[in-house]
């Protein structure tokens, strides 16, 4: 069983009837809902307003893959929790960052860049599968459309990805590396661009399949308990 925690700042949902109409259970509730259909996944949710944002040491230690959705509340996430998630990723926990999470403290910290991009609300996107043999692309068609999605455009200020699985075409004339894989320490990270809060993106079957595939891909191979710089100084070396 893969233990997934879906984290959402859950702020737009409180402020906007429009968002609540699309996601009556919140974005986290929607994502948790479709992941539950996978018999190999168990899922919990956590939100910004919970104690320690719902990401206590116990929750993180019990999480194989963390999914992150944030936007207007990035600055409200405490540095202590960011540090906790950061170390958990380096020790092996998987992390899936969605859409506006590109400017989350945790993604910027793990990327080592600002993750800046261009954006424009209310465009149409066609997602192209660039690496059809990748596990996250399993069962995903060569391309699919999102009738309304926020445009995110290049240049995207991230490190050279280990793998570019998806690329996005926007009607307004831009392109974007939409699905990116990274390894940091023992953990795997997947960034996926679609998912603006007012659009029904997380109801799209292909988006759901991609996130589900990403959970399986990001499952830890191994978790370690400590980071550090060991000095086997008392030894003469191995020889």
């Amino acid at each position: 069983m893969i233990k997934v925690t879906v984290w959402n700042e859950n702020l737009h949902e409180k402020e906007s009837q429009e968002v609540r109409t699309v996601y009556p259970d919140g974005i986290h509730g929607c994502i948790a809902g479709f992941l539950k259909d996978d018999p190999e996944i168990v899922v919990r949710t956590a939100t910004l307003d919970m104690p320690e944002h719902g990401l206590t040491k116990e929750v993180i230690d019990d999480t194989d893959v963390l999914i992150w959705w944030g936007h207007m509340g990035h600055h409200l996430v405490s540095d202590e929790i960011v540090e906790r998630v950061y170390e958990a990723v380096l020790k092996g926990m998987g992390l899936i960052v969605l859409h506006s999470g590109h400017k989350s403290k945790i993604l910027m910290k793990l990327m080592g860049t600002t993750c800046d991009l261009k954006w424009r609300d209310g465009d149409r996107e066609r997602v192209w599968t660039v690496l059809p043999g990748h596990p996250i692309a399993k069962g995903v068609p060569e391309h699919f459309e999102l009738n309304v999605e926020e445009m995110y455009g290049e240049p995207f200020l991230v490190p050279n990805p280990d793998e570019v699985v998806f690329m996005g075409w926007f009607r307004g004339g831009e392109v974007f590396r939409s699905g990116l894989c990274y390894r940091r320490g023992l953990g795997r990270i997947f960034y996926f661009q679609p998912g603006h809060e007012t659009n029904p993106t997380y109801h799209n079957p292909w988006v759901r399949l991609i996130i589900r595939n990403a959970v399986h891909w990001a499952e830890p191979v191994k978790r370690i308990s400590e980071l550090g710089c060991p000095n086997p100084a008392s030894l003469e070396g191995l020889e």
Copy 2:
């Protein structure tokens, strides 16, 4: 001085008045022409119908960067010349492959894949600079348009590029990794997608700048004279 050889199959030019109108001196003549404006570059041309396709051992040994344009005559290029170019790249010579050269014997051999892609003639392309800090992007704007260019679409069956410098957006709805960098042995390879024979692509100032930048980027750091698997068997090792 960087010694450049521009190779062109020069077949469309012989068959088609349309192509001759766009490139009265051939595609090779056009490219050689604008490269000559760079005082650090000396340039010669070579074509399929010359003895040894104009790529004798002497020419290759005297070439720092080889530019390749081919399409309908890929199968007419002799395997012996392909092997000569292949070894020269591994020993340090730079190689720039343009447009339909994606299916040339030499690129497929160096990539280890078929370099298949989707295509459709007569679209409009917008080229995006994804890595603005890359030497090949020096002076190139964030994006520029080619009013008529052949669509090349993903998935592009090539190895994971060392660097994706440019990406293409097509009016018809596709995306493409349009400017790709590879290192093979001591040589550097740049593949650049624009340049259909009936379109005035090589008259575009940004395309010209990109090819010129690529020549500088692909200049050999070092040339070696031999490949091989040395066996320092008579030694006890270095220790």
Copy 3:
């Protein structure tokens, strides 16, 4: 079930009593033997002297992961079979190339380089796990020793690997990138350096675990039936 075919040229075994003593069932028999212990793997073997080297179309179509051991008989492998394996990898089949297989026609074709390296027989190697979070490193210790192994030394003339999982230290003073991952088309490729024919390397439990892990890692996500450059020319594009 993962269907594995272990291919071996099986020439040293015929010529040398020393090799037969280490591998009485041949290197292929030894590898097939320990893979059979994995309940998720079914395994067959194939050798150079069989019709079509044992790699008929039917066998390749029925193979998920092909393991390759060759050395003195590289030139005896027919180009037709190499082409068959090459296309199968691009269409999704996994490939694991062992030790002296670095100079096999199939690896050189898929890498696009000569795969040259330095070598010296009869050294001691310590294999280091560089990426402990990688699936192929699952359960493998931080380092382990091979008391007698052939030294393979840098520079190793291969493309920049997608992932370097293991590195080798040699008593004689050399280093080597010993475990390398590549993706070519839809297929995954793992190259692993240890395994000289006169050494009991494939009896080492860590080497066995690494090969077993690599089989699971290289299992196809998807197999396609055709390669090619589709031209949806009759369409106006997707827009």
Copy 4:
């Protein structure tokens, strides 16, 4: 002219006669000294005890490539200066981090990992050139020895490097990726492992050549003045 600033915490030099004997002008003085021999380089130095650690906005704006040596004083570097250097790199400034700088705030921030490694003082190292065609390896032999150098061993907790130019062999039995290239934003980063404060490593001619080559490699292609997420919202897009 390439404007280089050599930064050194300059703490060991104050505390230890042993270090002063090896580096009477400080490590920064030694490095600045040999870089001055390059007619294309102008060099200044800066140290921890200077106002703003010598890295004022004016200095950073006037620096093309920053060289960083730190060890016992990593925690004494102010976060404000780290942020200034970080942004300068993303905007195009080159950065060369030496030896124990692997645990500097600036490298950890740009890598997005802890940069942990193994270490043991007082070993012998042989540096191998893995990418002989790389600009940083220009003129560097296939391998060279450092009779006394601190062992740094794998696993090295850094992101997958864009390029591994050098690898280190240690007499005590370890290996290390010793020369690593990264691109972050518009800036280039080179990490180079040799250089313990009590060893005469920066007097070694090959080490000097490598650092000099790295300065040329890291020279900015372009500097931008602003980072950010532009919203061309008033536009209908480019189409």
